[in-house]
Amino acid sequence: MVAIASSAPDSLFEELWRLQQQVDELFGTWASPSGGIRSLPRGSFPAVNIGHTPERVDVFLFAPGIDPKTLDISIQENLLTVTGRRDIPAHEQATYYRQERFSGEFRRVIALPEDIDPDRVQARYQDGIVQISVERREAARPRQIEIH
């Protein structure tokens, strides 16, 4: 894992926000988010953010309170599939005022850029976020061409 400067997450969120604004402006709010054919309505569990560099693609699943052992992560070609479950125990003797948190099984299918290398994937779980880092193929990376 790369050590991260503290400004990086902010600039990503900023960038994501701008991108979403552009999509919203182009298609109207009915088309958001991003209009991906496999994207789910806003508010689905787990929420997903994706960032990329020329070297790799990072997928973040906002999945707090899960047992990482219940996760099943697979990649076929450039299609990433994540399934899992979150069990929230019900307290039968208690009176509930709000139950907004997702409970049960989930599945998300995410189309990644075409140039990812499905054999070089790393996943980890920290602070309730599943981070899946996929390397891109060398040939697809931009190369500096020297002028002699």
Binding site: P9, F13, L16, S34, N49, I50, P64, A94, Y96, D127
Partner: protein
């Protein structure tokens, strides 16, 4: 107040948003479960990406305030491809009532789930009232 200073010391982020004339990046309202039993009220909030040092929980004038900042582990040159979550801050507030012991609130953060336990004052815990046969 670590979360506060972190949020306000981002001139670049704030500036970029102002330039576009868009609304300020609104904090995420974390989904919660709230339930009550004889001993008190328990609140569970989903705040993924928040670690203990980026969480702030406080009571101000009988209002419980939850705040946190999420951090994603990314290279500096990363750009966005897709985003369900557009803000890296969480905030939600709850009005507390007088029978709760705000001085004895217990909180625990694990895997992005904050659990807050607010006990009731012992004198207001329910007592079983015997009904005498007349």
């Amino acid at each position: 107040m670590a979360t506060h200073s972190e949020v306000t010391s981002r001139p670049s982020a704030a500036g970029a948003l102002e330039r576009r004339g868009g609304p300020a990046e609104a904090p995420v309202r974390p989904p919660v479960d709230i339930y009550e039993d004889d001993e008190g009220i328990t609140l569970c909030a989903d705040m993924p990406g928040v670690s203990k040092d980026r969480l702030e929980l406080r009571v101000e004038a009988n209002t419980l305030i939850l705040e946190g900042t999420a951090r994603l582990d990314l290279p500096e040159n990363a750009e966005a491809l897709y985003a369900d979550v557009r803000s890296n801050t969480y905030r939600r507030t709850f009005a507390l009532s007088g029978e709760l012991e705000t001085g004895k609130i217990d909180a625990n953060l694990k895997d992005g789930v904050l659990t807050v336990r607010i006990p009731k004052r012992s004198e207001v815990r329910p007592r079983r009232i015997e009904v005498r046969a007349g």
